[in-house]
Symmetry: C2
Subunit: 197 residues, 2 copies
């Protein structure tokens, strides 16, 4: 699964969209890729979350190289965004930074001091990215073996999760994607099998 997430296509913001779908599965009202007015400037935010009156900003940092850290510079930037938004017309409660690798110790220390949440591959214990995924079975659709072309067309149809693929009907999936109906059915069965495993 780590490999599949590393391979999400940055050109199509698949990691950012995947994370948004994950949070929807976790019960949040989500909006993807939104402009939010701060005190002095507008910010392009990867995702907005809302649950029980709490409003959160999500920033995503996708690394294709799984050994790449997210460092202090990124969390400083993230905090400056939150600070400007908080002082703006639509205050949010906090900002969370989600990556698919690790954070540097400096990044963790600063974020802790700022009460800013980081979510990474092994962090935090009990609430890391793979743990949130397992909890909701929100696996990325590309862990199912398919061709690069199929993956691209399926994910560009906003099917980012295995469970979203599993819930498709073969004829509508075929119609949306141009895949043969038999192949669409095959992929749906694979998705259902994986969820039952």
């Amino acid at each position: 699964m780590k490999q599949a997430i590393a391979e999400l296509d940055p050109e199509h913001n698949q990691f950012e969209r995947f994370v948004t779908h994950l949070f929807r599965e976790l019960g949040y009202k989500t909006r993807w890729n939104v402009i939010v007015q701060g005190e002095v400037i507008e910010h392009q935010i990867d995702s907005l979350l809302e649950k029980g009156g709490r409003k959160l900003l999500i920033e995503c940092k996708h690394h294709i190289n799984p050994h790449r850290l997210t460092g202090l510079g990124t969390v400083l930037t993230t905090w400056a965004v939150l600070d400007d938004v908080r002082k703006g017309p639509n205050p949010y409660n906090n900002i969370w930074l989600v990556n698919n690798t690790k954070f540097s110790n400096h990044a963790k220390k600063y974020s802790a001091g700022k009460k800013m949440k980081l979510i990474g591959w092994n962090f935090p214990k009990g609430g890391s990215l793979p743990e949130l995924i397992e909890k909701t079975q929100a696996y990325p659709a590309n862990i199912i073996s398919m061709s690069a072309k199929e993956r691209k067309i399926i994910m560009s149809n906003n099917i980012l999760l295995v469970k979203e693929l599993a819930s498709c009907r073969p004829d509508s999936l075929s119609k949306k994607t141009g895949l043969r109906k038999s192949r669409a059915e095959e992929l749906i069965v694979k998705a259902k099998t994986l969820l039952r495993a």
Copy 2:
């Protein structure tokens, strides 16, 4: 001169050191490459300036490609550094961000809102990098034609400016750098000639 500044060696932080020497020529007390304790974390600051009771942090952004902009992300990070330092034990009055190219419009708008000074190639009018250099004749030493090896050894001896080269004595320059005395003398004469031009 623009070319010479673009070609300063990033591996040896020559741009950061050049900028520090420039500010010294402008009458600031300077310290290069200092760790400053903020509220929640320590920050590595390119340069600290002091003049008339004002204490400033300097962050440098050197672009080898002269067409590269410094964007919003960098100024957000820079502001987060200032904010953390201001809340720490050694408050500073402001932070200035110096680059050798241009800033994006978003970067300018945000910095203006935060009253943070940007210094770039054409910005601000009257106080841009080349204007500050002309005012003090603080030309980078590598505008004098010399071999890459000579440039490296001279600049690594903390001779970043033409005027610093011009004020050397041939024998001590030769001793410090290992250049033949006649070549050292030649370079010093070139430097003096350039300053009189």
